[in-house]
Amino acid sequence: MSGPSENPSDKTPLLSVRDLVVEFPTRRGTLRALDKVSFDIAQGEVLGMVGESGAGKSLTGAAIIGLLEPPGRIAGGEIRLRGERIDNLPREKMRRIRGRRIGMVFQDPLTSLNPLYTVAQQLIETIRTHMDVSEGEARKRAVALLDRVGIPAAARRIDDYPHHFSGGMRQRVVIALALCAEPELVLADEPTTALDVSVQAQIIDVLKEICAERGASVMLITHDMGVIAETADRVAVLYAGRVAEIGPVRDVIQAAEHPYTAGLMGSIPTLTQNAARLTQIPGSMPRLNAIPQGCAFNPRCPKVFDRCRTDRPELIDRDNGRHVSCWLYDAATQQVAHD
């Protein structure tokens, strides 16, 4: 199988997802929401995960932390955290990984915090659940952490309730909460989508700096390519529950190989280039019950040829740290093109 990082000299990645399949059984048959998704996250790396709504970004995150909403279930593949499988753990064991080894930051900071408890109570509870420290020590850590994420007068504000904080400040509290047990991986699902641009930049900076400082890896799920461009080391592009392309951020943004990624990049207006028209990908992403045969992108692809309509492309290793699932890059296709 040509998964990312088959190279034996690589150290074991922090997180490794292989051929992950997530299915939703429904009365009208089983819907396959994730179809053989594979990627790795190295120690200390920021992996961006982009895609349009319904591509399966958040679902991938939910599968990793074992929070798939029933009837959704993992129907195949495996997820390993430091080489150890976590996709088939009993609930109780998974609960101990969640929060302790994998921290989470969700989109809406208001729903991630309990409105009935002060920030101090929530932070101290989380710290003491995962670490063996006294109440006083936990409080000291909590204050230090709030101070670190940029909450002014942390020692005083820690006893406030979530509604006393503004949206940006709340998201800082959520980041503190995600990091308080010193996790190895932080899963951030649209952490800035609910915030204004001027605040968004602050939150991204805080998240990035603090994770770098602690050596935590980040899986950053967002639909905003701009955020990915400024934050991630590598990016995975999802389309209809499949990985279209993975590679270093700069390469993927500036020289996308998969036609979908290329179309996606062209459709985003930028702050520097002048284009009369934006590149347009005709149509829209297929629904889960109508994913076309072969490559899921083939009906919208400008470079489609016969094979795309029948065979599904696997991720092809491009030997430059990039992986693309597109028949254009298959050895056989390129042979034909050269002849």
């Binding site: 949206g167 001027s198 996606l264 985003i268 207006p269 930028t270 590149t279």
Partner: protein, 333 residues
Amino acid sequence: MTDTPLLQVTGLTRYFDVSKPWLNRVLEREEKQFLTAAADVDFEIKRGETFALVGESGSGKSTIAKMIVGLVDPSRGRILFDGQEMRFEQGAAMRQLRRRFQMIFQDPFASLNPRWRVGAIIAEPIRTFGIASGADINREVGRLLEVVGLSASDAEKFPHEFSGGQRQRIAIARALSSKPEFIVCDEPTSALDVSVQAQILNLMRDLQDEFGLTYLLISHDLSVVRHMANRIGVLYLGRLVEEADAKRLFTEPQHPYTRMLLDAVPDLALSGRRRKPVTGEIPNPINPPSGCTFHPRCPLVEDICKRKIPEVRTTPTGRAACHLLSENGLVKT
């Protein structure tokens, strides 16, 4: 035709009363409280151009849009459409004027009646304004659906059968059905994915060329605004802080807030620039800061900024409201 701007807005102001109930005020000895959503906003939109208003949440973008189409009454100020003052309490004359402008809303899931067929949704303005009758209505609906890239047979379907992008196309067809000259677009693409956003933005441009439309585009997305607009107004806490030619706003921002906003936007260009850390958040609009409302976050703040509301001055690229601006732009940088 003439040189009169199609839309002229002067001193547009809107307060919202957000006081507690009378009894609470008496018991707790509190004053009435007002939220200033828009304060002394002036701008003009010429025929055939796209004027954009950008700002973060709470900056008053949508309130201004709603005042222009008459969904919210202004507390003060005047709106002239094609030289005629808009007074929504007036009947027949206003209805004549009313036909000439339309609005597209942000959420295509909320702005279409789920119990109506698409054909009925699009036909409603045609009937209301008596533009066509009988079988002509259906023909017109079919034509409009094709104009926005759907098929005439879609008129029989219900809104839930369409995706977000297609629904926004239906909303555009409805806006076009009264043959307007001016369309207010309130965040028309912010509920859509980027590839669909590109389709809608391209469609809006094509329609502008085809029908000579004038747009007021409201958005928080600077890159969308830059792509679409001829001129841009930047709002902060209900005040217009800067207005400039679209391209020059991005290369030569004048007001410190505009500079900060541009610095904060994550960009695809991967320039590797080191962003200046942005400080603070938008203050509460109920008790906005004294003087220039941006002063608590402004890196260039001086004493006068805390005392006096800055006047609008001419800048090399347009106009801006800042005490530190001179004829040649910012005094210090």
